[in-house]
Symmetry: C2
Subunit: 247 residues, 2 copies
Amino acid sequence: MLEMNYLHRDIMPELRAHRMERSTGMAQAVNLLSPEQQIRLQSIATLVDLRRNGLIFGEGNPADFLYVMARGMARISRVSLSGRRQVMTFKMAGDLLGYPEQGIYVNTGRAVGAATVYRIPWRKLSVLLRRDPEMHTSFLTRMAFDVRQAQKRIMALGQQNVAQRLSAFLLELIEYPDFYDQERRQLSLQLTRFDLADYLGTTPETVVRVLARLERDGLIRRLTARLLEVRSADGLARLLGERRRSN
Amino acid sequence: MLEMNYLHRDIMPELRAHRMERSTGMAQAVNLLSPEQQIRLQSIATLVDLRRNGLIFGEGNPADFLYVMARGMARISRVSLSGRRQVMTFKMAGDLLGYPEQGIYVNTGRAVGAATVYRIPWRKLSVLLRRDPEMHTSFLTRMAFDVRQAQKRIMALGQQNVAQRLSAFLLELIEYPDFYDQERRQLSLQLTRFDLADYLGTTPETVVRVLARLERDGLIRRLTARLLEVRSADGLARLLGERRRSN
DNA sequence: CGTGTATTTGATGCATATCAAATATTGTGG
DNA sequence: CCACAATATTTGATATGCATCAAATACACG
């Protein structure tokens, strides 16, 4: 029970039930560019193939290119003051990556497994944008989408325990047919435990232990370290409504 | 020591020293609109005065207006599945607030203390944007700024302990002359312990205990609950480089 | 000036970071 | 393609940080 605290916290108890978010959202990363726009973008782009862990762009380097994910998955990360890596997000096919801050990349982008990206020179892109207000708007929409994505991460990191964050992430991943075989209910994780830990704001050991717990509870099964069987998506979803701590 | 883990984590040891971020950034929320643009915005805006805790816009309601902070501070928050409030960010003079998602506000905005906002009808705004590509670009830039802001929160919530997060926040706040008297080194917090807790992803009790610890260590002094003396900004900054746990 | 609210302090136990070490897996050079 | 070295994953032990429950005190506002 949350007693009287809602007064200070913008929570109207009668409304709380309606606040259920319908989806975890990553899969909504619909491609916001029209086919025609995509073709125009591709006409000024270079295709780049990447191996596992291949560098797409590096924190601190001049941001001469914008990238569009063509195939595979990319990891966007940043290193903190204390020297630890935080994974901001993972980018999938259709996503934009490599936003500059004052001409410099603020994050590092790497391919998680083998991947392909479109590399687009900013010089050419800005010409294109100036001529095409519709594309311009698409980019604004895209940016807005990224803000919402980031806000979801803030919610998760601010309120959920590791099991909840991991469950939510698994639920997002199974929306991608590229990684999830709906038939066999098998989720192919390209990610290492380190990737997961750095994304979820925890340690690899804790990720392992949480996976072990989810397996004990019959929600998943670890076929190999990088291949999971999702036995109960509902069970994973149920976790999300629970409180951070049992007590 | 971080031993060999950097291989998996995009950390080049020789580079780590250069990765020091120079600032916590909130103060960089420069007004990205030119004076002329501001005037044009104001011509279609209504001034709205708000009392402490006054509602600016509410999660789930139709997003008919965009707002610009004129005076004071606003709290942008969202309620999670589990019924807890997360404060996404605080908005200061010049900041935009009230982005819609498919025509609906996804967050709640409230005045922290007394405040004033410009209320701008989307209908009029979109006409203006269509006619003014430069303004359009300003909004894109603004959006990009918000993404970076959010990413900083992700870094903080993912890696820092509560003392570090609180210290970082205090360091941001003292960049605002509105709230910080540089002479007397006095920071006037309009925020309650609940606000702080929900922003930092912790509980009011823990906020209190952390403040007590910072005071014991001579970094701050609590003159009243909402008035702090910042005795050593350097000391607060030093905290940020430490590890999450002492061990 | 009193009542509701906010802040503070205390006690307790859970979640998880950290250190250590064993085992499994992967990538690479021959 | 194999063997071996490097790396990743898993498990265990331990202690710290913090959420939670409880209650006392301080504060603010009508």
